[in-house]
């Protein structure tokens, strides 16, 4: 039983991290209709900024807090210099240009930080387990990720559903031309959304960094997952991204945790040991395929 609770927490933690990454991606995709493959690079830069600031200030928390405005600045620069010129072009141009950005970002990091990965040392209080119940220890850091992730998710919910900016964002996701016609400063809105996406990606990157090492190209793999999430959740929908991220986080974790034992009930041990890892890494893609067959716009697609 405690094992199941623990694995559920693991799933939530993974889901929240991916939600942060997917939220920015789905906003940018939904509102500006921009396929931004370089979103993973913002994730990577968040981690590298945090690594440098942590080394500089000797505190992970301060390092993280400094990395976020740096990421915002970077996001705004990318929007103004590159992304803005792409909105009127078609998706193929987006893919080409932002793929180019990935290559530039990876080599830029190699130039500035060198080819080796970096580890972000956690302060002692985060680097040990806390006891949720006497026989359920859980890594403090992962618990902190859950708390921060949940707080940010709530903030986004408030921002999108309760504020005027949120109304623009929702309107933008539904009908871009219309909000322009209504006299909203679309250019500013786009810069704002892109910057917000960059901050969220950087937050995901720097929170993942102590768990998975800061390295060149760290965002490239996870970006695929983020795309899976926004496709499942429906493009442009924050709610969809949240629910899809939680489902994907859960399925990935529980798949790794339970599938081997499940398969062993009807397969030989050797066969189960071979099949389980392969199957568990496939499951989220199977889920995506299933959702697409059932609803081609995703669970909460903003546009029909």
């Amino acid at each position: 039983m405690t094992l199941l609770i623990e694995q559920t927490l693991n799933g939530i933690q993974l889901g929240l991290l991916m939600f942060l990454l997917a939220a920015g991606l789905t906003l940018v995709f939904g509102i500006m209709d921009l396929v931004n493959l370089a979103h993973g690079s913002l994730y990577m830069f968040g981690a590298y900024f945090c690594a440098s600031f942590t080394a500089w200030t000797d505190s992970f928390v301060i390092g993280a807090l400094l990395a976020l405005p740096a990421a915002l600045l970077l996001g705004v620069i990318v929007e103004v210099v590159v992304a803005r010129k792409l909105y009127r072009r078609d998706h193929l141009d987006h893919v080409l240009a932002t793929f180019g950005l990935i290559l530039i970002a990876n080599d830029l990091v190699r130039l500035v930080w060198g080819p080796d990965g970096r580890r972000i040392p956690l302060p002692a209080w985060l680097n040990q387990p806390i006891y949720l119940t006497p026989d359920l220890p859980y890594p403090t850091y992962r618990f902190a990720v859950i708390v921060v992730g949940a707080a940010v998710a709530l903030f986004l919910y408030w921002l999108v559903t309760r504020t005027r900016t949120g109304m623009w964002i929702r309107a933008g996701a539904s009908n871009r031309t219309m909000i322009g016609a209504l006299g909203i400063n679309v250019e500013l809105l786009f810069t704002l959304v892109f910057g917000l996406g960059a901050v969220l990606a950087a937050l995901a990157g720097l929170m993942a960094a102590p768990i998975v090492t800061v390295s060149i190209g760290m965002g490239d793999n996870i970006l695929i997952l983020a795309f899976v999430i926004i496709v499942i959740g429906g493009i442009g929908s924050i709610k969809g991204a949240f629910i899809a991220a939680m489902i994907v986080g859960m399925i990935d974790t529980l798949g790794r945790a339970l599938l081997p034992d499940l398969l062993k009930t009807f397969l030989s041990v050797a066969a189960a040991n071979t099949a389980a890892p392969a199957l568990s890494s496939m499951m989220i893609y199977l889920l995506m395929a299933g959702v697409l067959v059932w609803r081609s716009t995703g669970l909460f697609g903003a546009r029909g």
């Binding site: 094992l3 080819p115 890594p139």
Partner: protein
Amino acid sequence: MKRGLLASAALLGLLSAPAWGQQSIKIGFISTYSGPQASIGQDMRRSVELAVEHLGGKMAGKPIEVIYEDDQFKPEVGKQKSEKLVQQDKVNFVGGYIWSNVLLASLKTVTDDGDTILISSNAGPSQIAGELCSPNYFSTSWQNDQTPSAMGQFVQDKGIKKVYLISANYAAGKDMLAGFKRTFKGEIVGEDLTKWPDQLDFSAEMSKIRAAKPDAVFTFFPGAHGVQFLSQYAQTGLKGTIPLYTAFVIDALSLPQLKDLALGVPGAQSWVNDLPNEQNKKFVADFKKKHGVYPSFYGAQSYDTIMLIASAVEALKGDLSSKDKLRAELKKANFKSLRGDFKFNNNHFPIQNFYIQDTVKDADGNYTLKTVGVAMKDAKDAYGDKCKMK
């Protein structure tokens, strides 16, 4: 157009080939020089450079030319680069290869060429020790199963009854578990193979380990993955509760990052930096003087690759025209290996000792490894029978 490009590339290749007579000994060296595992490639390259330096830049009076190629940690890229080395650069030897999956993808390209000898400086997949063995393949490392077998023996001798196994899901990771099970006779209470190389977060597996309540955990995660595994093991509170035994997790490259996390976690290896032979003392001292850090076993095995080549080239006085003679000379392993002398098994894998290592601090306060015992003496790999070579 494409054909024209290819043709001109081929022409350029011909032009750049050195004139006959003043030929150099050409060695291609494939490793990972970019990405999160780049520090391994750097250590290997430094060791190759040191070997060339110790040889005075020459083998049998001919200049040594080493061409380094980056496999980017990907099998398909490794194969492409191997093709480039064999077909375009026409190297005499291809060395290197950290990863078993990269080596398996590249194997045939090199060994079936007929003019090129492959010497693995690290990877030792069971397939190549067995049915895929080739007269053109040599190893200056080990067969994958051997190091974990040594660890399994050590764990068995300690009287440990229940072990949980966790490893990476690729060729080497599977060999590691097979090797461990060959010598450990107790109960295996759980076994995980994690997605390689993308999975760096082991939360689900850590929770399973705790729930399975084993007496010990055995793990294989090379490079950056091992660092993550150990730090997460500590974050979850498992370190200090369930003892951890490792293969290829703790080495000179991961120690500066692991620091205290590595204390009390034994590993097994066929080379440790404190082995007392003369050539090893010189290698470690010169490496430290040049780079300020300890060399790793990856580096030591790469150094041995160059020295093995040198021994054969010297014996043939630089005449590599007869491949039969070249193979016969290589087979003798007539060189001063950093691990001490060894012989080749019928499948061209070394027959050698395996040591248990522990983490200690040296006189300057740096973390380093220390030999604490011999786990296996003159160990032969388990796949020689499946190889048709005599």
